[in-house]
């Protein structure tokens, strides 16, 4: 049985938060670091299982891929309805900050 101890550092927590686009406060980073370490440690339990000849499961119901004909539906939403919840919009578009320099 392999047992490894996973322990995250506050720097790693910051790195993950950046990957996840989550702005965390210093207090949150300090609170989450031990909590996330404890959960990740629990996952190490899986090292006990030999999976060398096991295939991964991605869906539990053995359905096959299904293809759908592309056609416009009569009951599709209007632009107005789609944009209703956006904070900033103009001429039927959503306004965002500039992302490409």
């Amino acid at each position: 049985m392999k047992t490894t101890k996973t322990s995250l550092t506050p720097e790693e927590v910051k790195r993950i938060a950046r990957l996840a686009r989550l702005p965390l406060s210093q207090e949150e980073i300090e609170r989450f670091t031990p909590q996330l370490s404890e959960v990740l440690n629990y996952f190490n339990k899986l090292n006990e299982v030999d999976t060398s000849s096991v295939k991964p499961t991605y869906q539990s119901i053995s359905d096959e891929n299904r293809f759908q004909e592309q056609k416009l539906e009569a009951d599709t939403l209007s632009t107005e309805e789609v944009l209703k919840n956006a904070k900033e919009k103009k001429d039927g578009y959503v306004l965002t900050e500039q992302v490409i320099k």
Partner: protein
């Protein structure tokens, strides 16, 4: 209760408006204590009731009403992660406060088309992340049997609302026990259908490979009747199943004589509360006396299921919650609550370069072994019987700072989600201090019909639905 209410309405002993008003009044007087509803749609519910009253007024053939509207006038409430056209849908999170969906989820639309009346939206753990209901940004829901205790989660408002007679059907979702947990802690009945049995379209996604769309009711019969309405293929959800939907009520009272009921020994260990095991033993004896044969089975990889679930589920959450950018709808990402942030972080870590093989891929391989365990068991038995929760409901606030402890509450319910099998939670008894205990009946893919039959046989014997909370 659906049957009785339908009869009263179609025989015109009662109008839909009168019925709906009586429920709204009850919600008004009890919701402050319970915090089961986030939104109460007085106006919409009354308008809809009037519409249905006019419909029945102009319909001479009542058989026609019964046939076309199997839920005619039935008051329902939806978990607040179901998109409801023109009713605020928050997912119990500040990030979606004020969000008004432009369309109905398929499950909402089907209930509406069957004649249901929506009373409002139910509280839950934000984004359905939790087993206690405490992760709601709108405050925790209280257990109707003891206001100081949690009602189970994440469909916390659904369980509390049904236990307190605030509606007849409360919809919910079960990604890793979120319907069965509240049902077991509130003396109510919940179906977590087979993965793909009910469309996920319009339900705010948590973990797409295990999200199951179901509901909580007071009786097994109601549970079966409502599933007949919501189940079935939906072109809007490519993972919804095309397998035909049977009549779940037909033969529901046939009993369990000759059936083989498996007891997975890994679900009855010392880790499970003694009173819960005891209640389960009583249920096993009851089934034996009703003519079922009890078979001991092993699901050998059960002890790994929780670790698998807590890798797969946050991984899928981190992806699904990526769409919350604060641009098209909702607030900015700092508005996520602590639990959503934790799960996004765990998932992001498990999927990140260098860790994917060790966590996500490893978990999906062990998931295969868990599914094989179930397959082998169902070669020997018709259904599996086990407790729902390993512990009795804790006090509100008792373990909010211990995420792992909360995750461990899902240990007996998560495996069914990983395998995509259906599971029905039914009342089994009460603890010495008067708190409800539930058991779950798990079945093979798309075999909900057998689960209802088995659940009904127990309900008919125990009649626990008669024992209501003192509110």
């Amino acid at each position: 209760m659906i049957k009785k209410t339908l009869q009263e309405l179609t025989e015109k002993q009662l109008s839909v408006s009168e019925l709906v008003d009586s429920y709204l009044k009850r919600i008004d007087s009890l919701n402050k204590k319970l915090n089961a509803f986030i939104t109460i749609d007085y106006e919409g519910a009354r308008k809809r009731a009037k519409e249905l009253d006019e419909l029945i007024h102009h319909e001479n053939n009542l058989n026609h009403i019964n046939k076309k509207y199997p839920l005619f006038g039935i008051p329902v409430a939806h978990k607040d992660i179901y998109s409801t056209k023109s009713i605020e849908t928050t997912a119990a999170s500040n990030i979606l406060k004020g969000y008004i969906p432009p369309y109905d989820a398929t499950a909402v639309k089907r209930a509406h088309d069957a004649g249901a009346v929506v009373l409002g939206k139910l509280n839950c753990d934000a984004f359905a992340h939790g087993a206690t209901g405490e992760n709601s940004d709108f405050g925790p829901t209280k257990n109707p049997y003891d206001f100081t205790k949690i009602p189970g989660g994440s469909s916390s408002g659904s369980g509390a609302a049904i236990a307190s007679d605030l509606c007849i059907v409360a919809s919910g979702t079960d990604t890793g026990g979120s319907l069965r947990s509240p049902a077991s802690f509130t003396n109510t009945t919940a179906i977590k259908p087979t993965y793909g049995r009910v469309s996920r379209y319009g339900i705010i996604a948590m973990a797409s490979s295990t999200d199951s769309i179901g509901h909580i009711t007071r009786t097994v019969e109601d549970c079966a009747q409502y599933l007949s309405v919501t189940a079935g293929f939906d072109p809007h959800d490519a993972t919804s199943s095309q397998s035909p939907v049977p009549d779940y009520l037909e033969g529901i009272d046939e009993g369990v004589r000759g059936m083989k009921i498996g007891i997975p020994k890994e679900y009855m260990t010392d880790g499970v509360d003694a009173e819960i095991r005891q209640a389960t033993e009583v249920v096993i004896k009851k089934y034996e006396s009703l003519g079922a044969s009890i078979v001991s089975v092993s699901l050998a990889h059960t002890e790994y299921a929780l670790a698998v679930y807590y890798i797969v589920q946050p991984s899928e959450i981190s992806s699904n919650l990526g769409r919350f950018d604060g641009i098209r709808f909702g607030a900015t990402r700092d508005q996520f609550g602590a639990e959503a942030k934790r799960r996004i972080m765990i998932g992001t870590y498990a999927l990140s370069t260098g860790y994917y093989d060790a966590y996500y891929l490893k978990a999906q391989k062990v998931r295969t072994l868990i599914i094989e365990d179930f397959k082998k068991a169902f070669e020997k038995v018709d259904v599996l019987l086990a407790p729902v929760s390993p512990v009795m409901p804790p006090k509100i606030g008792e373990q909010v700072n211990d995420p792992l402890k909360n995750y461990l509450m899902d240990v007996l319910v998560g495996p069914a989600n990983l395998a995509g099998i259906p599971s029905l939670s039914v009342p089994a008894g009460f603890s010495s201090d008067g708190m409800p205990i539930g058991v779950q009946i798990m079945g093979n893919h798309f075999d909900e019909k057998t689960l209802f039959k088995v659940g009904y046989a127990l309900e008919r014997e125990l009649k626990l639905y008669e024992r209501k909370p003192d509110l």
